[in-house]
């Protein structure tokens, strides 16, 4: 195909991706090093309402001549980044700390390093879910492949359910199962295990991880199952003739054939792990487990600070790059070979 045709065919998609992915990404970088805030004046006002009058000394934004609040926009460099990593500037550390008058600031408080907490949970999530997703997906694919043809349809459909369900709905259903008097919590209580799932860090994080395994295993399953349909039959027959057992066939013929798919599923899953959002939002509202996606969302919509949110976004991208670059390198080399 000539370059001209190529460009013609790919023009729409390139246009879309540039306008809605590349450009916003560049804007995010720009936003993350700026900050805008109104200018406030100290005022004392007389307020009256349903509960009677009161006097209030408060701050109010200054208005310009057209009646719009004055905005101070300036370049703040890396200060938002520092904020997220917990390297607070000297100004923020001079609060009149309790019982530490005169003593230097104690740099405690791990929850000030919000981004690192979010990133470390995301990495924990990846490490905890990926092996299980691969394992369950593979086991399920092998099992269903071994079934009678007629029975497969039902089992495939039912197994795909967690993957197609809306993540918000899935997370809510898990919450209703594990809440204080939910089904699973009660069943466990009958068995003597009393855990308040949403009440402490380890169980809340475990729930998010369980959710991840529950939701992604079907994807691994369906990819591996499709792969099993294309295992080279002649190699298998040759192995049978050579007297190989089921396990040996699995290990020496089937698994190597599926190896590229394992990499594929892992790659997609790791990318999606950085998008974990709904379980964190629904299960604990960010209390014990936070994810990088939730952090950006929270800062943008709750704190209403798009500049700070952009800094969180850029940090997220850095976090992704660290993990993904080695994996991408491998894919690059493979594709280079193919192309």
């Amino acid at each position: 195909m000539r370059l001209r045709s190529f460009l013609l065919f790919t023009a729409p998609t390139l246009l879309l991706m540039t306008a809605l992915l590349a450009l916003p990404l560049a804007t995010t970088f720009w936003l993350s090093v700026h900050s805008c805030a109104p200018q406030f004046d100290l005022v004392t006002v007389q307020q009256s309402g349903p509960f009677g009058p009161r006097e209030l000394t408060t701050q109010r934004a200054r208005l310009d001549s057209r009646g719009h609040p004055v905005e101070n926009c300036k370049f703040v460099g890396l200060s938002y980044y520092a904020n997220f990593i917990g390297l607070g500037g000297s100004a923020s550390g001079q609060a009149a700390d309790l019982q530490q008058a005169g003593a230097p600031e104690v740099a405690s408080g791990t929850s000030n390093r919000v981004f690192l907490a979010a990133l470390s949970f995301t990495l924990l999530y990846i490490a905890a879910t990926t092996p299980f997703v691969i394992f369950f997906g593979m086991t399920l694919a092998l099992c269903i492949n071994a079934m009678h043809r007629r029975a497969r349809g039902f089992f495939i459909s039912a197994s795909l359910l967690p993957f197609v369900i809306t993540p918000v709905v899935g997370a809510l259903c898990i919450k209703w199962l594990f809440r204080d008097d939910g089904l699973v919590a009660q069943l466990l209580a009958i068995g003597g295990v009393h855990i308040y799932w949403m009440g402490q860090a380890w169980s809340a994080q475990l729930l998010v991880i369980l959710y991840g395994i529950w939701q992604v295993s079907p994807f691994a399953f369906i990819v591996f199952y499709a792969g099993l349909q294309s295992v080279p039959q002649d190699t298998l027959e040759a192995a049978t003739l050579d007297g190989a057992s089921g396990w040996q066939k699995l290990r020496y013929v089937v698994l190597p054939h599926l190896a590229p798919l394992i990499v594929f599923v892992s790659l997609i899953h790791i990318m999606d792990a950085y998008r974990v959002f709904e379980p964190v939002l629904v299960l604990t509202k960010g209390a014990f487990s936070t994810s990088v996606q939730y952090l950006t969302y929270y800062v943008l919509l709750q704190e209403n600070n798009p500049y700070k949110a952009s800094a969180a976004a850029v940090l997220t991208l850095t976090g992704i790059a660290i993990l993904l670059v080695p994996l991408l390198r491998r894919t690059w080399r493979e594709q280079r070979g193919l192309a």
Binding site: T10, L21, T28, V164, T166, W176, F277, L324
Partner: protein, 278 residues
């Protein structure tokens, strides 16, 4: 592949084990179904109530009072729009990537893969800024295009590997016969592409239908899709709205169940043919 081991016992463990997995996989939504048919006092009872009177109040309240059918229509529009645009644009691009041998194609693919890794919320702050400036923020059209763009990397990768499995001879023959590239594409390739299009379309469908983050950030109440409406109901301070949210959670899943029941065979066929080779 022959079943591992033989005999009744092995078969029994196979089916029972897989059946258990299936039960665990479906348990959350089944439980949601059970409590959606109860009043709040029984659905969230403490301790758990195993049996309780059933009611359709929640569904009635959701679909009639809260006008959930409007949200349903919105979801249909957004999803249909996103899937159709995504497939059209993606097919053209996937075909081009599969037939072009130059370096530019390769580099663009890697860039697309990098884009696939971007979480949605990373783009939100700039979306807010850009869309507000252009005045197009609360628009279904904008949402559809954003969903399409987000899914493009995955779509073109999948479609490209499908196209790579269609031998070059097919369109070479058409070109020799005097067709232009576009004509070759339409007449020769498209008819063979259905499994690939269906599979890719399914993934696009899931992305658009199930999206919560972008849909809630970029739309107005008239345009709320179903996931957003459900999230809204759950967060409200009223247990009636909460129960309607539960009913909504079950309602939104029904089309998905039908979808996988009908198309699971095509999905496997499509994946077998295409993506698993790439």
């Amino acid at each position: 592949m022959k079943p591992l081991g033989s005999g009744r016992f092995a078969a029994l463990t196979l089916y029972a084990g897989t059946g258990l997995w299936v039960l665990l996989a479906c348990l959350p939504i089944l439980w949601a179904l059970v409590i959606s048919l109860r009043h709040y006092v029984d659905a969230f009872a403490s301790p758990l109530r195993w049996f309780a009177p059933l009611t359709l109040d929640n569904y009635r309240g959701l679909w009639v009072e809260r006008e959930f059918y409007v949200n349903f229509l919105n979801s249909v529009i957004v999803t249909a729009g996103a899937v159709s645009v995504s497939l059209s644009v993606g097919c053209l691009a996937g075909y081009a990537f599969s037939r072009y041998r130059g370096n530019a194609g390769f580099w663009l693919l890697i860039v697309a893969l990098v884009f696939r890794a971007i979480p949605h919320s990373t783009l939100l702050p700039s979306f807010f800024l850009i869309f507000d400036t252009l005045g197009i923020r609360n628009s279904m059209f904008t949402l559809i295009l954003v969903l399409v763009a987000i899914n493009q990397p995955f779509t073109i990768w999948m479609l490209r590997s499908f196209f790579m499995n269609i031998p070059n001879d097919l369109d070479d023959a058409a070109l020799v016969d005097g067709c232009s590239r576009i004509q070759a594409f339409r007449k020769v390739i498209i008819p063979v592409m259905w499994p690939g299009i269906l599979t890719t379309g399914l993934f696009s469908f899931l992305l658009a239908y199930n999206d919560f983050l972008l849909s809630s950030a970029l739309t107005n109440v008239e345009m709320m899709t179903m996931p957003v409406a459900i999230g809204n109901s759950i967060n409200a301070e009223s247990e009636r709205l909460l129960m309607q949210g539960v009913a909504g959670a079950v309602s939104i899943s029904l089309p998905l169940l039908l979808l996988i029941a009908f198309f699971q065979r095509q999905l496997v066929a499509g994946l077998t043919q295409g993506a698993v080779k790439g």
